[in-house]
Structure formats: structure tokens, C-alpha cells
Assembly symmetry: C2
Homo-oligomer: 434 residues x 2
């Protein structure tokens, strides 16, 4: 399914006049969107390039983006991406092309206008902030390996997969208020668990990460029209790493019959940079075969996914004290996901539900076929029965206070420039005193 | 648990200079909040009084609410209640007292300022609009009668209640984008159902209403601090009728293992008027006994609910053609709910989850002990096995196209003036052609 239409913005020969270190996640072929704040000021919209950020409010207020995006000055003066997400695919594409040109080694527009200095800030001088005001957040369960592992673990004598699993992308709504930007520490939650004899309330004893990829939408059509699967990609702006923190002991007690609630709602970490579908285009690959074939409303010839290598690493207090690097515990790839983003979005709106610019959709835990490709500790330790060893032989079943979870993702393909998703990192803080 | 502290705003002797017809839901003792629009203009905030609305932007811009609410002019110039909800309980109380005085028969301030005419609009001249920008929407499952009926229906050989039901208020997150204001028609959703042999996709054949009461919150404390149960009422602004439309055939196929998703997310109807806890105060009653006693984080001496009589009525196309009134199919009362709003809010934030001004919480279907007190057709018809008869002996299992669902609620108590929640009404439109 490789679409070999030439796209100037992903041409490997492109170079920027902004310095980009070798191996950077953010070459000129990437151009991901985020928001940042300096010294407590209002967050501003920017695009990552190398170790810098191009401030789009500065670029827009000179009129340089007027042709690319209706109302560009207002859209890029905002503190979140929502207005830009609401501008739609044509504007997303036109702004990308314009920025790609403005940052091209052969272009001197920003310097001629005298704003090359003010429009570029160093990433290390700013704080990256939550780039979205999320409308609704839907989390899916779309990895066949993950669902099979969980089913095998909890229903050892039954079918591993729920009967509906291959017929629809199972999903549920999650809490938007507690989605936080990568870097924000996560406090160990308290909650109710089954206990011995009677339920108890206290700090979770089974805090887990979940490696996911989130995607961000533009506006859907007016309800009750849904988004047809073959048009779904037009409504998807881009993707970011997502850590769907989970308290497994709370989840085991609360989640039947209506699904996970407090086991997930205490925190979800979203990576600060949203990588656009345009940047991912060279890394499109076919989704795995689906059997039985999906119903017509989920079936499309245009059903592709992306080859994105993903890792999760852990850094404990003991490792930090020794000066160790985070230890990789998971190596997997997004391309193995059974249900595509297009199918997820078409399904989520197939009943006429309204989709808004700034909605967030999580893939569900991304696991792979091998034990080292499992995307959460529940699977890696088989529900705590088989601890894994970090560097220095330190054992882990679930997360300890002080543990830092570090997620990374990147795309590589011969003939194209490597791009990355940026790092998603957050540390676990002890529970509050009760 | 009657708290007999005298409150001037609910004194039955109060009369307004605005005409209030006998039996109105909106005497001066009520003063519910909503938003309205005239002729396509921007929505404005108002308070219902009799058959009129007091426009709070007009009252605020003269400075009359400055003492009661910080930044009153900005707060009441908005098109939703969110900024006012964020002002907190002290402001909610002070504005109520001020409006109660301004509308009192003995007060002539509005007339003296020359704004009695411009500040009052007739309800029949305006369109009531969605009063909130909802942050997160949590739906509970807190009626013992409802949960018992559902459990008996679907697990005839097992325990009717899930094992966790009496230990915590079961809840899940629902979609905010498709919460619509009462009056908005609801299009029959399409979706995937089990089918015979293979799943099918098409219009639901089991469209249901659910009678619920929603409550709206102010801001909670900064995370990870939760809202203590004994302080939860301070964070609850008021209540409104809620119809949590459900497609039972979609729900049966999709809802395991992660809970309801598309069976609920196509539409939820919220009544246009939010009735404050202050107005409900005379109708406080004790919650039913809880056994086993709740864990300390859910236990409080201040654990009360409200005596609110509720009805659901249906009006079919055939009845409408005959000029019939809607036929009442459900008569129940909110006071029987097992888990209180305070317990629901404390539980929802007990893991440190952030609660924001404008969050919506649904009670879950409100049923009672008798067959005519069941709050949805699933229970009333025992999953379609025992059709009910509307006026003219017209049978109903689930909703037909053209059916209008009409919900009402009111509070009565000797020595106090009756107040109502206003009507929540919406009609079912046929599914779109595929």
C-alpha cells in the first residue's frame, strides 16, 4: 500500500537553515505541533525543528500564514491547537507546506523580515504544555496481542478474545480533565480494591503504564452523519505517544459491569508533540489481515497504518542514584495493531456521535507477538507473577514510587529521513497522606 | 435529617412582582439557571420565573450583582454557566439571595433602574439552549431497584447485583459532545448488533430512554486532592433531568468487556433548567440505609438526598394525531437512590481525578420498587418480552419513530411552595438513509 506520490515536504534532500543535530526526532521533514510557555507566560503554539521551536504566533502575525490558513493570526495566537484543528485538512496541509518552505535552507524570508531571532526559541528554555483542550477522549483496545494476553490471563479456561473483538474496535470513553502533558509527575492514586474479606481504600499496589499511540481529530460532519471510513483520514490531524496509566487492583474490583473508571481516570500522559499524518506518510504500511472481513461500514481499500517503532524504558530511584540510563523493557511496533485509526474513528461516529476538533483517541496498549514486545507491566510480569529485572537486577512487578517511565517512538525507511515522536517521560510520586 | 435552618429564599410567603401562574414549576422559591437565545443571537444566561426569564446579563451590567459575585459582569455576559459555576458556592448563594430580593414583590429596584422590561423575556419567545460546556460526563448506576432488575434479567441464575455494587457507586465516563438540550430531536442511531449468525449494522431495534437526574459541579480542589464526601455538597451547583438514550441491541453486543460506548454516545438530553441545591433544601431527606456500611471515604453524617417525584410519559404519532396527552409510563422518586450525589462525587475524585466547573454527573436510571416505577423500557417491558400499552391500547416494547419522551419532576412538602424541574421533552426521528 505504499503511496509513492512525491511530497516535497518529506523529500530526504530537504535541509533547514535551523541547525538539526544528527538523529534528531525533529528534522525539517517532521514539523510536529506543540505548545510551550516561557517564564509563566501564556502558552504559545510552535513547531519543533531540531532543538528549537518555531513560534507560529510570530510567523502568523507578520501575515506569512494568511494564504495557508483562514484567520491564521487568530488561530496561531491561541494557547491550544484547537482552532487550527478546526481549520481542516486543507489548512493543515497548506500550513505544513508553508512552514517547510520558510524553514528550508534556501529560504531567507524570516531573516529578511527580521523575525528569525524572535520566532525561534530553544526547547531547553521553555516548558512544553498540554497542546489541546480535549473535547472527548476515547480509548480503544485494538492490539490483538494485548487482548489475547489479557484474555488468556483472566479467562484461562475460556476464549482469549471477547466474542465481539474481531467484529468491532472495542472502545470506551475516558476522562479528559486528567490528561496531562508529558513531564508532569503522576501521583500514585488511592482507590478501592477487593481486599481480603472486605474492600479496602488506599494507595494502589499495582500501578502500571500502558504504551499507546493517541490520535487527534479535526471536526467531523454535523450529526447525525458519521465519518465514513474511507474519509476518516481526512479528519485525523496527527498522533502522539500516550501513557494510559492504570491501577490494576482498582480495575479488577471496579470494572464490571460498566468498564474501567477510577483505575484509569487519575492520569493519562500525552506527549507534547503532535506528529502529523503528512509527516508519517512515507511510513505507511498495510494493516494486518482481518478475519472475518469487517462489515462494510468498517471496510476500506484505504485501510493503512504506520510503521512506528516504539520503546518503553524504566528508570528507578536506585538506577538514577547510580547514574544509569533508563532500561528498555518493551520494544514493539504500531504496525501490528489490528484495527486502524480510520476504522476506530469511523466506528466511534457510526451511530451519529459528534466528533470535534481536539478529540483524542487512544489506540489501547500496543503489544507485539514476543514477550519483550508487551506494552504494559500487567503483560510483562503476567499480572505480577513473573517479575522482570531492571538494570542491576532490580526486580519489578508493578511501578514503584520514584520510577520514571520513558516512551519513545520513531519511523525509519530507506530513502527517507528518520523522524521521531519525541520523548514521553513521567515520574511516579508517592501517594498523598490520607 | 431535615435541616430546619430558616432560609429566606425558600420562605413560602415570598411572592414576586413577576406573574407566576398557580402550579408553575418556577415560583420565586425556585430560581433555576439556564441559557436562551432570541432569533439566532448569542445565548444568554437567565433565571426562570413563572413564564418569564430574568436575563442576568442585563441585571449584571447595571452593577446589581457586583457585590454577590466577583467579576459578575463578565460571568453573566457569557453564553454558558461555566464561569459562574467556577465562582464557587459563596457566589452561588449570594447571587441567589440577590435575585430573590430583586424579584420580591416588595422590591422595585429593576423598575427604578428602568430595566424591568429589558431584563424580562417571555419563555415562549426564546429557544432554550445547552447551558453548559461540559468538561467530563460521568454516568452512575445507583438505583438498587434498577440494578437488581437488570441483574435478574441478564443473570437469572446468578446474583442479581454485581459483587462491588454495594461497596462503591459504579460509574463510567460518557460522551460530552452529544449531550443536547431538551427539545432537540434525537435521530435513531445505527450501529452494530449481534445478528443471526454474523453481526449486522443498521438502525437500532431497541431504542430506549433512561430517566435520570444529572448534577452539575463547580471546580474541585487541585489534583491530586479529591473532594471529601462531607464537603462534596459544596461543589454541587444543582440538578436537572437527564434522558440517557440507549440502544439496547448495540449495548448487548458491544458492552463487554469495557462498558457501554456507541449504545449511549449518540445522544443524551439534558433539561434546560438547572435547579440549585439551595432551592431543593426544603426537600432534603435521608438516603436509604446502606449495608454494608460504606468505607470511611464514602461515609458521612451529612449524607442526604432529595424527595423529587418523577414521571416519564410517551406520546406516539397515533396519539398525537388523535390529540391525546402523553401517557405516563413511569412514576418514581429520586429519594430511593442507594448512592447519594455526595458519595458519587467523592468517589469520582477519590483517586485524585480533577473535577472542573461544568462537569456533569448522571444518577443512572431511577427506578422504584413497583413495576410502574421502572425508569426505562428495558425494565418496563422486561427486555421487550412484555409490551406495555399506551393510550388507545397501542403496544410498546421499545421506542418507535415519532415517539416523544416527556420527563417531569417536582418537589412538594407541606409548609413549602412546590417547585419543579421543568419539562424534558424530545422526539425520536427516523434513522438516516444509509
Amino acid at each position: 500500500v505504499r503511496r509513492e506520490t512525491y511530497d516535497r515536504t518529506t523529500d530526504p534532500a530537504l535541509r533547514s537553515w535551523v541547525q538539526v543535530p544528527p538523529g534528531s526526532d525533529f528534522p525539517i521533514q517532521n514539523l510536529p505541533y506543540g505548545t510551550f510557555t516561557e517564564a509563566g507566560n501564556r502558552p504559545r503554539i510552535g513547531i519543533a525543528i531540531g532543538e528549537s521551536i518555531l513560534a507560529l504566533d510570530v510567523a502568523a502575525e507578520t501575515g506569512l500564514l494568511d494564504d495557508a490558513c483562514p484567520d491564521a493570526r487568530r488561530v496561531f495566537a491561541a494557547s491550544t491547537l484547537n482552532a487550527f484543528l478546526g481549520s481542516g485538512r486543507a489548512a493543515w496541509r497548506a500550513v505544513r507546506e508553508r512552514i517547510s518552505t520558510l524553514l528550508d535552507a534556501g529560504d531567507s524570508t524570516l531573516r529578511e523580515r527580521g523575525i528569525a531571532g524572535s520566532a525561534l526559541v530553544r526547547q531547553r528554555d521553555v516548558l512544553l504544555t498540554m497542546p489541546l483542550a480535549i473535547g472527548d477522549f476515547v480509548d480503544f483496545y485494538s492490539s490483538l496481542d494485548h487482548a489475547t494476553n489479557v484474555g488468556t490471563m483472566f479467562r484461562p479456561d475460556g476464549e482469549a478474545l471477547p466474542p465481539n473483538w474481531r467484529s468491532l474496535p472495542i472502545g470506551y470513553h475516558a476522562r479528559t480533565a486528567t490528561v496531562v502533558c508529558g513531564g508532569t509527575p503522576v501521583v500514585r492514586p488511592r482507590g478501592q480494591t477487593r481486599g481480603a474479606g472486605a474492600p479496602r481504600y488506599g494507595p494502589t499496589r499495582a500501578l502500571d503504564f500502558e504504551l499507546e499511540l493517541g490520535f487527534v481529530s479535526g471536526d467531523g460532519p454535523l450529526p447525525p452523519a458519521g465519518i465514513p471510513v474511507e474519509r476518516a483520514r481526512d479528519h485525523i490531524f496527527g498522533v502522539a505517544l500516550l501513557n494510559d496509566w492504570s491501577a490494576r487492583d482498582l480495575q479488577a474490583w471496579e470494572a464490571q459491569p460498566l468498564g474501567p473508571f477510577l483505575a484509569k481516570s487519575f492520569a493519562t500522559s500525552l506527549a507534547p508533540w503532535i506528529v502529523t499524518l503528512d509527516a508519517l506518510q512515507p511510513f505507511r504500511v498495510a494493516t494486518p489481515p482481518q478475519a472475518p472481513p469487517p462489515l462494510p461500514y468498517l471496510a476500506t481499500a484505504d485501510d493503512e497504518t504506520y510503521d512506528i517503532s516504539l520503546t518503553v524504558a524504566l528508570l528507578s530511584n536506585a538506577m538514577r542514584a547510580r547514574g544509569s540510563e533508563p532500561a528498555v523493557v518493551t520494544r514493539t511496533n504500531f504496525r501490528r495493531m489490528y484495527w486502524s485509526m480510520a476504522q476506530q474513528l469511523a466506528h466511534a461516529s457510526s451511530n451519529g456521535a459528534r466528533v470535534r476538533a481536539g478529540d483524542l483517541f487512544g489506540s489501547g496498549t500496543i503489544s507485539g507477538a514476543t514477550p519483550d514486545a508487551r506494552g504494559c507491566l500487567l503483560e510483562l510480569t503476567w499480572n505480577g507473577q513473573r517479575p522482570i529485572a531492571l538494570a542491576g537486577a532490580e526486580p519489578r512487578t508493578y511501578l514503584e514510587d520514584g520510577d520514571e517511565v520513558v516512551m519513545n517512538g520513531h519511523c525509519e525507511r530507506e530513502g527517507f529521513v528518520r523522524i521521531g515522536l519525541g520523548e514521553l517521560r513521567a515520574r511516579v510520586l508517592p501517594a498523598l497522606d490520607s
